[in-house]
Structure formats: C-alpha cells, structure tokens
Chain length 314, copies 2
C-alpha cells in the first residue's frame, strides 16, 4: 500500500507518548484504533486528546479530522487486526518491548509496517522475537508528538530497507519532519545532543557551578532562542562571518581544546573539516550568510514576540 | 553612581559583538561612544546599526532612542573619558585583552565599571595588568546582543563583589536577562552547554553517524523548539510526569549509563538528586506540572506559528 493511501492507524500503548500520537493522527484526519492494558487508559487517553484538541484546531486540522474517529480496542489483536500502520509506544523496557512487538507482529496483517517510539533501544535488539522482523522500524518522536514535528526513522539488522523508506514517506504524508538514519546509533541523533547538554548540566549542578534555574535561564534567555530556526551547525556557520563554517573551524578550532565542557572533542582532521563545511553548505540550501542572518533575526523577533504574548497571557 | 542613573555608555571594539552592543544601548536610549582601531570600523558599525534598527523598532525603542546618539571616537582615551559604563568587545586573544583592558582601565574615570564580552577567558587572567582591577567584570553576551537577552556576569579574583552586583543591576536596567555566577568556570554556563552539543555533533559527523543537515534538523524540528521556553532541567522535570524531576531521576537515572553521548555522566548521588529536585522546584516558580505543560504547549504553538510566518515570508 502506498503511504499516502493509508487510512487506518493503530496505536499500541496510550500513555503520554502513545496518546500524543493518537492526538496527532486524529488531527491529521486518520481513524485511529488504540489499545493500552492499563485499566484507566481510555479515560486518560480521552482527556489527553481533549486537552490537545484546541491547540491542534488552532494549528489547523486536516479535512475530516474528528475526535470521533478514535476507537478504543479491548484487545491488542483487535487494535491491529485491520491496521494499515501500527505505532507502538510502550514503556522503555527491553523485555517488554521484545515481547509486545512479537505479539503485534503476529496479529498485524502481513506487509503492514510496525513502528516503535523507543527513545533508546535499537530495533535489532527489539525485533529479536518477531516472526516477520523485516517490517519493523523505529519511529522515534519527541514530546508532545502532536506539536513537535521530528521523527527519527531507522531500521534494525533484520529490517528491510524498503520498510524504512516506506515509514519515512508515511510519516511525511502524516505531517511529520523526518530524519532517516542509515545505521543504529544509541539514542539516535537528537537524544545524543540533548543528553550531552543534560550531562554537562548535571556536572555543573553536582559541582555547585550553577543551579538548575541558572542552567535553564542560560538556555531560554540565550542560545535556546536561536535553536528553533538554526541548529548547532548553522549557528556556528554564522559565527564564522562571511567565511562561514570554514573560517569558524580554522579560527575557533583551537577552542575545541578549551575546558569549556567535560566532553572531549574529536580531532579536527581535514576530513572532519571538509564534512562540516560541505554539510553546512548543504544545510544552508543556497542561502548566503547575510540571508541566514536576516532570516535568523526575523525569526528571533517573531519568537520573542510570540513568547512575550504567551507570558503576558499567563 | 546608581546603575539606573547611567547615561553615557562606551563600547570599545565594534565588530559583530561590539556593534551589537552599540545597537542595543542605542535602542535602550543611551548615548553611546564607540571606538575600534580598524580603518573601516565606522562604516561597518553604522551599517550594522542600520540593519538592526528596523528589528529594534519593531520590538520597541526606549524613549529618546536614536541612531543620532552614536558618537565615533578617534581614540580609545576619547571614547572612555566621559563614560559611565564601558563594554569591551575585542577579538578573543588573551594578550590583546590584557593589554586593552589595562589601557581602558587607565583612561576610564575612577569608579566606572568596565565589562568584557569575552566568551571564554576568566577575568582573573584578563585583569592582570590593570591598575584598578577591582572594577573589571565579565559581561558575556550572546549573538546578536541586541536580540538575545542573556548576559553572564562574573568577576575575577581581584574584582570587588560590589562591582559584580553593580554590573548585574546595570545590565538589568539596560534590558538584559542577567545570570550572576559566584565563581569563574571556563566557558561560563551557556557556552559549556552549547559546547557539549557542538562536540557531540562533531563526533557524529566525524564517525559518519549523521550529517550537519541532519544534526541541525534534529534540533530545529525537535527539542530546539522547546528550549526557548523550557531549559534542559524543566524539560526533564516535565518528562517525569506528575512526579516531576524526582520521578524522572529515580526512573530514568539508569539512562545516564546509556551510551547516548560521548560525555560521561556524573554519579547520581543523593546530593545531586536533591539539588536537581529543589532546583527545579525553584525554577518552576510555583507552577505545577500541568501548568508548565499547558504553558509549554501555548508557547510551542506560538513559536510554530511565528516560524511559519517567517518561512512563508522568505
């Protein structure tokens, strides 16, 4: 089935992440069947969807989108029996995921792609007990999945590459921003970057160098304001002035030896330099430094004004 | 002089950062005297201020703010002779900064606070050659200083603590968000966190695990969208659900042992746990998890819509 033809989505596990997926798929117009073994799962899920709905309405619902398109299944088998796509969002417990994915695999129609929301396990280890592991992928979202666009997609050793391509295409059709990884790396991409910040923050607190409130303010009042529009690479591309990333690495490369974080820097080889320079050109998509600066400033102003509005309304 | 009584500000060094400070102080209504030894400095500075002015006007100028309040001095001595506050933003070169700060110190009226924009040096090493080092502080901004509110303020060993307090108060009066550090830590706070992300990103590119474009997208489409309103600590406070940071550390603490970044985590001692929990309560300023979630979502929607507007306009 082509990704754009999918109608019926099943969500297995309906906690904060699973429920967030349910809200997202409903807002994008899909009929969703959800299942969760917790006794109070249905009430919690409906509350979560109700709480998210005004935001989703404000951002724009797809044609036909309705909370009435949510069906709560009483068994796992019933939830996935007619699914054309399955998203699993169970707690992060490897044994549990291995078992659950094997049960999902057994009950889901052949050929239907099954995706896991895991934030850290590799699909290779999770798909071990599946009878048809080739259709299982990781589709790692960020909280809340109905507002944060990112999904990181990657397969395991026994995943068919076509399943990864299909899932990436499906998530795009379903309104997500997709990064496809060509190998399994623990924590994928965004969690590795986030975890690096988090660990440095914990070190600072442990050493009495900064408080959590100072750490948070240093981000929200500082570089965090740039990160919704410029990631770390383009941020430093701009820091190089008209010379961009090449100038930045040549002149500020030595700061990689500075004790500015507890994370040891890699050797700045010619190869790494080249990858960064070419990669930033690619990420800039033809925009000059001046254009990027102007765009950053327009976005910063828009973000500052948007946040002001929210804070004044609180 | 009380910080609120300051009128005349001198900016020494008028490149991207120094010029950004000039634009900021002009927009806040201060008369500014600037000096920079580069032959084309004046033209560049006026272009920078002109380019920033529409944004500053949109965000709201202080009463009496005007680009006509900018004076270009022909010598360093003339620039600081009548200053009531001095901000130095020379290139990052320790020798140069030591020499320049000694010259500024010699030419600035007694008792006037002198602040350095350095992004990495400690004031202790920079103030070595100054005759009256007690009035020198670090006031580290982020680029562009006229849009990013954060200033990190910290003194050196020979700085009088009252100078640090005065500078912090002055920056607040001048419209900045201030973090006062009680000790010198290489890279201060925000640069350490930013550098941790940057080094992990370089490792990923060096190992072929991700491209710069993927790294940037993983931030701008993912956790970067949350960071303008929730720093890393409150982000994980929310990840703990109703149990907040305490629940988060107790249940996800083991992930600190996961190979999710190359940065080794600190030992999660009872003391660190306590500091994080108390610190997050402090940072939450009385807001419950539910209130923080609602605020995060309102802010996310506002940011997503603001960015949409900017992108459609480009």
């Amino acid at each position: 089935m082509p990704p754009a033809a999918v109608r019926r989505v099943a969500c297995v596990g309906a906690g904060v992440i699973g429920g967030g997926w349910v809200a997202h798929f409903l807002a994008r117009g899909y009929p969703v069947t959800a299942w969760d073994p917790a006794p109070d799962a249905e009430a919690k899920l409906r509350r979560l969807v109700d709480a998210a709905w005004p935001a989703l309405t404000e951002l724009g619902l797809a044609a036909g989108a309705s909370r009435d398109n949510l069906t709560i299944a009483s068994t796992l088998d019933a939830a996935v029996a007619e699914a054309e796509f399955v998203q699993e969002s169970a707690p992060e417990d490897l044994e549990l995921k291995q078992d659950l994915l094997a049960r999902i695999d057994a009950a889901t129609p052949p050929g239907v792609i099954v995706s896991s929301s895991t934030s850290g396990y590799g699909m290779t280890e999770m798909q071990e007990r599946c009878a048809t592991p080739h259709r299982l992928v990781v589709g790692h979202p960020f909280n809340p999945p109905y507002l944060i666009p990112l999904v990181e997609v990657v397969g395991g050793e026994r995943t068919d590459p076509s399943a990864v391509r299909w899932a990436a295409e499906f998530f795009k059709v379903a309104g997500k921003s997709v990064i496809v990884m060509d190998r399994e790396v623990p924590g994928f991409i965004a969690n590795r970057l986030q975890e690096a910040i988090w660990r440095e923050a914990l070190h600072m607190v442990a050493n009495g160098e900064a408080t959590p409130a100072q750490i948070d303010a240093s981000i929200t009042e500082g570089p965090g304001l740039r990160w919704p529009m410029l990631g770390p690479c383009l941020t430093f591309h701009l820091a190089g002035g008209e010379g961009g990333m090449a100038h930045m690495l040549d002149h500020f490369g030595p700061s990689l030896k500075s004790p500015w974080t507890r994370l040891e820097a890699p050797e700045l080889t010619d190869d790494l330099r080249e990858r960064m320079v070419r990669g930033c050109e690619e990420a800039a998509e033809g925009r000059s430094i001046a254009e990027l600066v102007a765009e950053r400033d327009r976005a910063l102003i828009a973000v500052l004004r948007a946040l002001d509005g929210v804070r004044n309304g609180r």
